[in-house]
């Protein structure tokens, strides 16, 4: 089947088998290796991308379902230098070690950070942990990730920007 996808701002029409997962198509057809596949059945969150702006598990999404949709991956979030404020906070707060789960965490949590900044509100740790409960990290023990989310929100609230 033919599908037209706008991936990280570039529109392309490709022919795919209906059973192909969005995660595989992004990795193989679009060369976006930041889309990591952990469990391939919706348990680990590694493959989270944005479909029309909202986080979605690309291992539970068929590419054929995304005809006409706009998809963003971690590659477009902060560029090759990973300059998004949340990515910077992951670095400074030790929110990653091996890094395999990190693209999924960042794609899940970036909209969460934006929403809290827009509300002008620092969430408590329980709320942050619920927001990231769909992502599994086997290295950090999660404390550094919670700290990174707090820093990303706190820095922007302190600056008073909505950027």
């Amino acid at each position: 089947m033919n599908v037209t996808l706008t991936v990280n701002g570039t529109q392309r029409t490709i022919t795919v088998e209906s059973r192909r997962l969005l995660a595989d198509v992004l990795r193989q057809e679009f060369n976006l290796s930041g889309v990591h596949i952990g469990c391939a059945h919706g348990a680990c969150g590694c493959c989270t991308v944005h479909v029309d702006g909202a986080p979605k598990l690309s291992c539970l999404t068929f590419a054929g379902q995304c005809d006409g949709k706009s998809i963003s991956t971690v590659e477009v979030l902060g560029g090759v230098e990973a300059e998004h404020p949340l990515q910077a906070a992951f670095r400074s707060e030790h929110g990653l070690q091996c890094g395999y789960c990190t693209p999924g965490f960042v794609m899940t949590l970036a909209p969460f950070v934006d929403d809290r900044v827009a509300e002008g509100r620092m969430p408590d740790d329980l709320e942050i942990r619920e927001a990231m409960s769909g992502n599994i990290c086997r290295c950090t023990g999660y404390h550094g990730i919670v700290a990174a989310v707090r820093k990303a929100i706190g820095d922007r609230l302190a600056k008073g920007t909505q950027a």
Binding site: K56, L57, F62
Partner: protein, 290 residues
């Protein structure tokens, strides 16, 4: 590598077209909504439908009050309940239970029709459907029928849905008097499927418990009600503590399944604790609002 077997993808624009496709494919066809249950099953090759009928364009997304009934369209996504004013006002236990469903990304895409049709033994929405005596509205090219939640779940991943049918809505009777309740669940990790969960709903009648509904998952291959405990609660004055001895006796007689996640004995002990806590919380909340 976990990948699904081949299938043909269909995306009808109307419900009639979808039902015609499902009638044509019978056993070989499955509706695809949020994909949060069916696609994992396909990736694991536990499900191998030859045809997927994508129903996401069919509407079926209303939450509406129709007299004593709250009608939820099959494609309503779980996250909606957390902010829906009708659910919040009329069915707080429902809302409490939704917090335990998966995690935010799953709640954004998963649908009530999908969850009920999947019929995981310890999923939250099937438990809530059993708690509230919901009617599941299923339709095929031959027409529509309603199945009571108590008769809908036949076992783990097994329901009353026949080939060619799909869920179009779920109808919840709205509690007619002031009501309070509680929902408690325990899983291995936050967002996992439960080892066991308990939901309690008490309707207040004067200073007493008027009607009581107690449902649990983890005690059988699908959610069940505990009528004996319900009878023990009905008529009790609101100030009285939960009947712990009665709960212990009823929990002790349960015959939960044992599996890789928990033994039968562990689940029975867990259910006793959850029943005690949920009942006590529900009784305390009933007293607060009366």
């Amino acid at each position: 590598m976990l990948r699904p077997s081949a299938f043909e993808y269909h995306k009808p624009e109307t419900l009639d077209q979808a039902l015609a496709l499902l009638a044509e494919f019978g056993d070989e066809g499955r509706p695809l909504a949020g994909g949060q249950s069916l696609v994992p099953m396909m990736n694991l090759r536990l499900a191998r439908p030859q045809h997927l009928v994508d129903i996401n364009d069919l509407g079926l997304e209303a939450i509406e009050r129709d007299g004593p009934i709250l009608r939820i369209g099959a494609l309503v996504r779980h996250e909606r309940y957390l902010t829906d004013p009708l659910i919040g006002a009329l069915m707080p236990v429902f809302q409490e239970g939704v917090h335990y469903i998966g995690h935010p990304t799953i709640r954004r895409h998963g649908s009530i029709g999908g969850s009920l049709a999947h019929a995981d033994p310890t999923a939250e929405l099937p438990l809530l459907a059993v708690l509230y005596d919901a009617q599941i509205v299923v339709r095929s090219v031959n027409g529509e029928r309603r199945v009571a939640a108590a008769a809908f779940f036949h076992g783990a991943y097994m329901t009353a849905i026949d080939p060619g049918e799909m869920i179009v809505a779920v109808e919840f009777p709205i509690p007619q008097t002031a009501a309070a309740g509680a929902f408690i669940e325990v899983g291995e990790r936050r967002g996992d499927f439960a080892l066991a969960a308990v939901a309690v709903q008490l309707a207040i009648d004067g200073g007493r418990i008027g009607t009581a509904s107690v449902a649990c998952s983890g005690a059988a291959q699908h959610a069940i009600r505990l009528p004996e405990l319900e009878r023990a609660l009905i008529g009790k004055p609101l100030g009285e503590p939960a009947p712990e001895n009665e709960i212990a006796r009823i929990a002790g007689a349960l015959k939960p399944p044992g599996d890789h996640a928990a033994s039968a004995d562990y689940r029975r002990a867990l259910l006793k604790t959850l029943l005690t806590r949920a009942t006590a919380t529900a009784c305390a909340r009933a007293r607060e609002i009366s």
